[in-house]
C-alpha cells in the first residue's frame, strides 16, 4: 500500500524566502542607484557653483587690475595704485572680449558709491532662469569709497 506524501505548499523555484530575498535585492539596487545618481548630480552642481564663484572673483581681480589707477613713475611705465579705480579705464574696458575668453554667456560690471549706482556695463545675454554669481569688492574712485560688483553666468 502506497503511503501518500503531503505535497509541499511551495514548489519549484518559488519560495517565500526567495521572494523576500529578491525584493530586498531589488530594493537595495534601487536605493544604491538613487544615492549614486543624487551624489553625482550634487557634485556636478557644486562644481559648477564653485567654478562660477571663483571665476567671478578672478574676474573682479582682473577688472580691479585693468581699470586700476596709475601714477607716474620712473622711466616709461607708471605704477599701479592698488585698490584705486580709474573711471575712464573702467569705461574703456572691453567686457565682451573678456567674456569671450571665459566661455560664459553673460558678464556685468557695476560700480556703486554711497549715493547709488554710478557705472554699469554688461556683455552677452543672460539666459532665462540662469544662475548669476556675483563678487563684491571695495575700491577707491577719485578718493571716495566705491563698491565694484562683478557678475557672471
Amino acid at each position: 500500500m502506497c503511503k501518500k506524501t503531503r505535497q509541499p505548499r511551495y514548489s519549484g523555484f518559488f519560495s517565500l524566502d526567495a521572494a523576500i530575498a529578491l525584493l530586498i535585492a531589488v530594493f537595495a539596487y534601487v536605493s544604491l542607484s538613487l544615492i549614486l545618481s543624487s551624489a553625482a548630480a550634487s557634485s556636478s552642481s557644486g562644481a559648477h557653483s564653485v567654478s562660477s564663484r571663483l571665476l567671478s572673483l578672478r574676474l573682479s581681480s582682473l577688472i580691479m587690475d585693468e581699470a586700476g589707477a596709475e601714477s607716474g613713475g620712473f622711466g616709461e611705465g607708471g605704477y599701479a595704485k592698488i585698490g584705486e579705480l580709474d573711471a575712464q579705464r573702467l569705461s574703456a574696458l572691453d567686457l565682451g572680449a573678456i567674456l569671450s575668453s571665459t566661455g560664459r554667456n553673460f558678464a556685468s560690471v557695476s560700480l556703486f558709491s554711497s549715493e547709488g549706482r554710478i557705472f554699469f556695463s554688461q556683455a552677452g545675454q543672460l539666459p532665462v532662469g540662469a544662475e548669476v554669481f556675483c563678487t563684491k569688492r571695495l575700491a577707491l574712485l577719485s578718493g571716495e569709497m566705491a563698491r565694484l560688483e562683478v557678475c557672471v553666468s
Partner: protein
C-alpha cells in the same frame, strides 16, 4: 526538569542593529566632510579690500574719521566691520555673534602722528 527560558532578542537590541546605527552615525558625520565649499572666499577679499581702503583713506588718523570711514565701508560692502588701533576703535554691528566666522587683518597705519598696529575685523551680517 524545566528547560532554560529562551531569551528573544528584539531587533533593536541586536548586534546588527547596533552596528548599523554606528555605521549610519559615521556616514552622517562623514557627509559633512564633503562640504568643501564654504563660499567664503569672496568675503575674504572684501575684508582685505576694506582694510586697504581704510588704510588708504587715512582713516586711522582720528577716532571720528575711523568711525565715519568704517561705517561707509560697512554700508557699501554689506558686512559688519570692526576696526581699531591701540588708541581707538570703530564698530558697525556690535560684537560678532558666537561661532560666526570672523576675518581679520593687521597692518601698520598712521595713527595720531605715529605708526601703530591697525586691525580690521569683518563678518557677515545676520
Amino acid at each position: 526538569m524545566s528547560l532554560p527560558k529562551k531569551h528573544s532578542a528584539g531587533f533593536l537590541m541586536s548586534l546588527e542593529a547596533a552596528a548599523s546605527l554606528m555605521l549610519l552615525a559615521i556616514s552622517l558625520h562623514a557627509l559633512q566632510l564633503f562640504e568643501f565649499d564654504s563660499g567664503s572666499e569672496g568675503a575674504f577679499y572684501l575684508c582685505s579690500d576694506a582694510a586697504l581702503v581704510l588704510s588708504k583713506t587715512n582713516a586711522f588718523s582720528s577716532a571720528e574719521l575711523l568711525q565715519e570711514k568704517t561705517s561707509e565701508a560697512a554700508l557699501l560692502s554689506g558686512t559688519c566691520i570692526f576696526s581699531e588701533t591701540g588708541s581707538f576703535s570703530a564698530n558697525t554691528c556690535g560684537a560678532a555673534p558666537e561661532g560666526k566666522e570672523v576675518r581679520a587683518f593687521s597692518f601698520p597705519a598712521w595713527s595720531m602722528g605715529k605708526v601703530a598696529t591697525a586691525r580690521v575685523y569683518c563678518w557677515e551680517r545676520r
